[in-house]
């Protein structure tokens, strides 16, 4: 009996599923504080800087939660950057600074986002197009659509809407609460709902899921819709920060590749079936810590880029290097 309960305990720890990326997160955080203390101004632990560090990761964090869904489903979404742009532009275009139009604008951008997610999902599941190509193509379509329709910042969001980006509830910025909310809901759906279980299954093995009676196409399409929804939320956050939307806000933020990098650094495999939101948030925070530290020590932007690339490779390699099979 004792052995059973012991192993039970071990399994509980394993089941509590603290992703290994948190070890990296702690190392990076401690390392950043030390480096900042030596080379920078030693301010990394001050409240406003820490708060700002999280605010920095809100836009990426939200869309990365959605990217986690598609990647658990063994898919990928390269169109999120342009979805963010579409949302930002459309929202400010519809609102035109009028507080009464906020609701209709939000409804419209969510509908558009869901439509784009649906199209992504349909192309991948029904037309059997590789998700990389499918979402790359949809991204190009959106880019064309955006640039053909809007070449500038268009419209504006009303000041009230900017609460989303700049407001605070007590000492905590609204944006952080929003990220927290998206992450919690995202994690909850994955871990606690049937849909989450099904998505892990579809990503782990589409064949198994199909034979278990799942409508795998629907599960995957749903994942793409969820991803699109997070891109829309992210876009709304960005437009509230920028006051107005322009076609380049998404691609300029590199939200497509960075969200994928954050998800993978967070421990979700490109091949799908495992991982989770908790890991992704850690991945996003790692980037934010590095960004803040680089800023604090006045690191050259080019060197920053160099190190960011190297860190992505090393972080992922730290999970993968023991693997014995072939990887492409």
């Amino acid at each position: 009996m004792t052995t059973v309960s012991l192993s039970n305990m071990q399994q509980r720890i394993r089941a509590s599923q603290i992703p290994p990326v948190y070890a990296i997160l702690v190392v990076v955080f401690v390392g950043a504080i030390i480096i900042d203390a030596i080379f920078g101004r030693g301010q990394m632990l001050s409240g406003p800087i820490l708060t700002n560090m999280v605010v920095r990761s809100v836009a990426l964090g939200i869309v990365a939660v959605g990217q986690t869904y598609v990647m658990i489903g063994a898919s990928i979404d390269l169109s999120v950057a342009f979805m963010i742009s579409v949302t930002a532009v459309l929202a400010s275009f519809v609102m035109q600074g009028d507080p009464n139009k906020v609701l209709i604008a939000v409804v419209i951008v969510f509908l558009v986002g869901i439509l784009i997610g649906l199209v992504n999902g349909l192309i991948i599941t029904k037309l059997k197009v590789n998700p990389f190509i499918a979402t790359l193509g949809v991204g190009l379509l959106l880019k064309g659509f955006l640039n053909a329709s809007f070449t500038n910042f268009v419209g504006a969001v009303p000041a009230s809407f900017q609460t989303l980006g700049y407001g605070e509830i007590g000492p905590i910025p609204v944006s952080i609460l929003m990220l927290l909310g998206v992450a919690l809901i995202g994690g909850f759906i994955l871990q606690r709902t049937r849909y989450g279980a099904h998505l892990y299954g579809v990503g782990g093995s589409e064949e198994v899921a199909r034979l278990s009676g799942l409508r795998t196409d629907r599960v995957l399409i749903m994942a793409h819709i969820i991803c699109a929804i997070t891109a829309v939320i992210s876009g709304l956050f960005i437009v509230s920060r920028l006051r107005s939307g322009a076609p380049w806000v998404g691609p300029d933020g590199l939200y497509d590749l960075e969200s994928i990098a954050a998800v993978v650094v967070g421990g979700t495999a490109l091949s799908g079936g495992k991982g989770g939101v908790a890991g992704t948030i850690a991945g996003v925070l790692i980037f934010a810590i590095l960004d803040t530290m680089f800023n604090q020590i006045g690191m050259d932007a080019f060197l920053k880029q160099f190190l960011r690339g190297a860190i992505i490779i090393l972080a992922v390699a730290s999970y993968t290097y023991r693997y014995k099979g072939e990887v492409a």
Binding site: L136, L140, K143, G144, A148, F302, F306, G309, A317, E326
Partner: protein, 332 residues
């Protein structure tokens, strides 16, 4: 091909012709149709000189696509090629340091650098087991950062004329054509070498096997790491060559390679390459790249604005892959 059948009546000539016609990669048809379309709007494209000038412009992306194909067939992606192109242009200018005498060793150094980058990419994928999408994405950032850091953000030094001749110059006063771009000669050499290595040499077959079933390839004696790393090296070297041509064509520029990686992947896919490996053709991939360039030229001649070109590109690559995917399912 009847040695295996027990009942062999020998297909008629017509059947053979039909079978062969069906087996022709549709990208060639698309390419020719696009060429005719472009030629109709601007007959200069159908003249030898006009076409050669167009080929010169398309040469870098075609070479890049040929290299990318190797990695795609192995089952991976190489997203770092755009950064390599940029680094070649910036680094070339820095090292040449305005002295034409430096050009030759600089070109050798650049090619060697390409080999190194390819080796590193390949090593990260083959030994550290990092999926190539992530490994080369990381490398993209590393190289872009390195190039800009090296140059301090702005290229220093010119690309000398003897460096630029490959991308820009012509052999003058030839019979038939009054000028023949060096870039087209480079393109032809690279194209033939890449095609020969892939389709006529042992390496190509091992690469296809590796992309098709890596585990089986290993157990059949394919030295998978070596074959995989070589694919990344070929891709990186092709990017260096493309960079030399592009730098020659357009001069020093820090934006030289931006976005080329996705264009090369799209082009290879248009040419029938299957993502995640096991199938592809070098000439078809290069035709895909040319078709894409022709498409842009066509849209431009039609006076369509640039944004629409993005949209059309997106639409076409989705349709091409969907067509191929649905086609193979039907034949099963």
């Amino acid at each position: 091909m009847s040695e295996l059948t027990t009942t062999n009546n020998g297909p008629s000539t017509w059947q053979r012709f039909a079978a062969r016609a069906r087996s022709v990669n549709p990208i060639y048809v698309i390419m020719i149709l696009l060429l005719l379309g472009v030629g109709y709007l601007n007959p200069r494209f159908l003249e030898v000189n006009g076409f050669l000038a167009f080929l010169r412009r398309a040469a870098p992306i075609m070479i890049l696509t040929a290299g990318q194909l190797y990695v795609l067939v192995s089952g991976g992606f190489d997203l770092s090629v755009g950064s390599i192109v940029t680094l070649v242009v910036i680094g070339g200018a820095l090292m040449i340091d305005n002295d034409p005498a430096n050009t030759w060793w600089v070109i050798l150094v650049l090619l060697a650098g390409g080999v190194v980058v390819g080796l590193v990419n390949g090593f990260i994928v083959a030994y550290l087991k990092v999926p190539s999408l992530i490994a080369t994405l990381g490398m993209l950032l590393v190289l872009r950062g390195a190039g800009l850091y090296w140059s301090g953000g702005a290229p220093r030094g010119y690309l000398t004329d003897n460096f630029r001749i490959f991308g820009r110059g012509n052999i003058e006063n030839l019979p038939l054509v009054d000028k023949f771009p060096y870039a087209v000669i480079v393109l032809a050499i690279v194209g033939i070498l890449a095609t020969y290595l892939f389709h006529r040499m042992v390496y190509g077959r091992q690469l296809l096997a590796l992309g098709d079933n890596p585990r089986a390839a290993k157990l059949s004696g394919v030295r998978t790491n070596r074959v995989r790393i070589l694919a990344f090296v070929i891709s990186a070297v092709s990017a260096v060559i493309a960079g030399i041509l592009l730098g020659g064509f357009s001069g020093v520029n820090i934006e030289a390679g931006t976005g080329l990686e996705l264009q090369a992947i799209s082009a290879a896919v248009l040419g029938g390459a299957v993502l995640l490996g096991g199938s592809g053709s070098v000439p078809a991939a290069m035709a895909g790249a040319l078709a894409l360039e022709l498409l842009f030229a066509l849209l431009n001649l039609l006076g369509l604005p640039k944004p629409l070109r993005d949209a059309v590109q997106g639409l076409i690559i989705i349709s091409a892959v969907a067509y191929a995917a649905l086609g193979t399912r039907r034949s099963k």
